[in-house]
Symmetry: C2
Subunit: 462 residues, 2 copies
């Protein structure tokens, strides 16, 4: 594991926010004036077109647009907005953590109105210092990724957001400002009191608004090499993954794409890869360490029948490869133009990954649905991207059934219904099955304590 | 970072527990009978000698012995005990997480009576699978280490308890059983609801009783090499640490011992090392990877004036070296027979470590106190072990002043008052300074929610 030497903090300004009726009926003119008094007239909009623009996301969940959109300029304004909304019973919502990222488990958009944050620009750190962790899908913001407990392709080596957040600046429901590890602190470890940082990471905006995040920085690797490799079967690809991890090869990324996904990527991203179950890999280290990692990995992969190695050492080649991986969502959508996508997100213990992936592939083929499989297999996490006609209710039901059956299989294998997309609206029932009655009740107690009026991203998670 | 392939769960039975008067005055005979009805007569004791035996720890805080000692045999009994005590307003306390470990920030023993758990036998996993993380000082139990959010010498590579706990079985104050990640689950990552696991790790028994922990297992390394190396100054040793981490050498352990500590270790553990600021190092990996790590480290250390390398490749040699490191507490105590030890525990950002360590060494020399410095410098965490005559109140005051000044310096450098020992009784005021008013109030809200009667390890942390 690359060592922590530095940390850096990113604020989330400028951003858009949404504000709406909440429990008190439609926004009054007076309330809109009060919003303007906080952020300035040009930074509040109640225009129908603006509200509509912010009233949907990539998910298939239908939501109401907000009643107002606001653009606070600094944390003091967020604090005053929160106090104003909370005092008057107006709902406040979680940002859409993944921006336009596919696969967000929806429901991060407002339902029943609410205020939603959305950074205008993705807050990417400088390349040499980038926290390798939260390599975002699409244009996710860092604070949004914190709110979902997101991860990404290099979590297998560098951990997820849960592992890499050192401190958070949070505006609590009533408007008070919390620094989860104390103001300005960024130590590597601590045993000082309850882990407030950990409580807010992944809380999906239901406990407070995250306005700044301090993350671990990992040194950029001395050298990097990426590769793709084709396999005769899903089993062979996933077995290889398990063996590579068992051999303690410190792989930086290991991603699985099934044959349908590879076909779609070839067409969408103009690759020329085998149409077969495939692993995308990346290694970080010194030149000498890389040579050893590559050699061990090749041995394991050949032993499992892998072939068609394609090594990418230059930055440009690697970028092309990973761009194809990161565009997998759009490549899948292109299989049925005009349709919408839905992504599953189960995660299981690595030892159970081969059986669930092989079974899921068989089920997908038998289902008659259009779908691909793509996964962060080094974490035991994978997605089925199902492409569905949103007007075809019978097909929507089949997608729902397929997704629920997959989650229940994952739960039976000691897994989770969501590795990185969150609960949102869509998985509230599944969360109950996963954590049990006492778990859900404990979560409800925490929610009621920190958000007693239930105005923060209402209806989400619980 | 070694990859997660397996997880394992350790329960904490058999264990001892303490139970006492709580808010209702002295234990009634009827209550003692009720305890016996839960765990069986042979598993309850109110004998003075037994209570006294469990009424003190290695810290300098003075506590009352419990009113009763109980030995529950399984989690159902713990649950019934918790329900019984909670229903009748009897206090329940946190175990002594470090067993006889030096440096525990005290206060994990009962004050004002209470029930305290203490596993009879340290629950060490099998050697080949041992989670390299929580390499315990002395005889700490795994569940106790979870309760403190402990770490140890190999946290620099494998993380602390916070990073490695996948699931907890917790008996909540009223006796209900919580599985923090859902019953039986042990996935590598999740975005499913609030992070209850993270909330209980480090809660020092103030929110519930941890009865089982599921931890990540890291593969045992293919090869291991350890080393010691002497430096001309504290600055040179700590600079080397920073440079090794900056070079992304995946060091498995990197421990600093000052000259006084080395002198004490030489005598206590019959070593023959230089009496100088020293680093103890360990590297894990393949033979080839080790060679590269060792070479890079030697270059850095020589550049900083290090000398007297002593490499230990065989298991026996390494064990001898690390046994000396782990016995540092007793080596320090042996400097003044009959005296007691007090350990500080600050942790700062790695970039601020050289300045605080150099300054602390100067302060220690100027103080006239008997003290050594030993630290998990790869994490930015170090301890001053101060050896003090417990009957000399003037000296005790000077120790207290020295420790508080050190914490305030650490806080000023964005650090924490405790890297791994916890808050206990001794650092409650410092916790407030560290996390601020909103942080403390948020912690108090969480405590009041989960333990509304305030009976769990009362008086600790907050």
């Amino acid at each position: 594991m690359a060592s922590l030497l530095r940390a850096a903090t990113w604020g989330m300004f400028p951003w858009r926010g949404y504000c709406s009726r909440g429990t008190q009926g439609k926004l009054s003119e007076g309330f809109v004036e009060a919003l303007k008094a906080v952020v300035g007239s040009p930074h509040v909009s109640i225009a129908a077109a603006v509200r509509e623009q912010h009233g949907h996301d990539e998910s298939m969940h239908r939501c109401q647009p907000p009643d107002a959109v606001v653009w606070p300029q600094n944390v003091e304004q967020v604090s005053r907005l929160a106090a104003l909304c909370y005092g008057q019973g107006r709902r406040l919502c979680q940002p859409d953590p993944h921006g336009p990222n596919p696969g967000a488990e929806s429901g991060r958009l407002l339902c029943g109105g609410g205020a939603r944050r959305h950074p205008q620009s993705p807050q990417h750190p400088p390349a040499r210092q980038r926290p390798l962790v939260p390599y975002p899908g699409a244009d996710a913001s860092l604070c949004g990724m914190v709110a979902t407990g997101a991860s990404g392709t290099n979590a297998v080596r560098y951990g997820t957001m849960r592992d890499n957040v050192l401190n958070l600046e949070v505006v609590l429901p009533g408007g008070r400002l919390l620094h989860s590890a104390g103001p300005g602190r960024h130590f590597r470890k601590s045993a000082a009191g309850y882990n407030l940082t950990g409580l807010f990471v992944g809380s999906e905006g239901t406990l407070g608004l995250i306005t700044a995040a301090t993350l671990r920085l990992h040194p950029a690797p001395e050298a990097t090499v990426a590769a793709t490799c084709a396999f005769p079967s899903v089993q062979a690809a996933v077995d290889s993954t398990v063996h590579i991890l068992q051999a303690a090869v410190p792989v930086a990324r290991i991603e699985f794409l099934d044959d349908v996904m590879m076909d779609a990527c070839n067409r969408h991203s103009k690759l020329n890869c085998c149409v077969a179950p495939t692993l995308f890999l990346e290694f970080h280290g010194s030149e000498q360490a890389l040579a050893e990692q590559v050699q061990r990995t090749e041995e394991i992969i050949r032993h499992n029948g892998g072939s068609h190695f394609s090594w990418a050492k230059e930055a440009e080649e690697r970028s092309r490869l990973w761009a194809a991986r990161h565009n997998a969502w759009y490549a899948a959508l292109a299989l049925r133009p005009g349709c919408k996508g839905y992504s599953t997100d189960v995660c299981v213990p690595i030892s159970r990954l081969p059986e669930i992936l092989v079974q899921t592939k068989e089920d997908l083929q038998a289902s008659g649905l259009t779908g691909t499989i793509v996964g962060h297999v080094g974490d035991g996490n994978f997605h089925c991207i199902l492409v569905v006609d949103p007007e075809d209710h019978e097909e929507l039901l089949r997608v729902k059934d397929f997704a629920e059956q997959l989650v229940r299989r994952a739960l039976a294998l000691h897994g989770t219904c969501t590795g990185e997309h969150g609960i949102g609206l869509g998985k509230r029932q599944l969360l109950q099955e996963e954590v049990g009655t006492v778990g859900i009740e404990t979560m409800r107690q925490l929610k009621a304590t920190l958000d007693p009026r239930g105005l923060m991203n209402p209806g989400k998670v619980l």
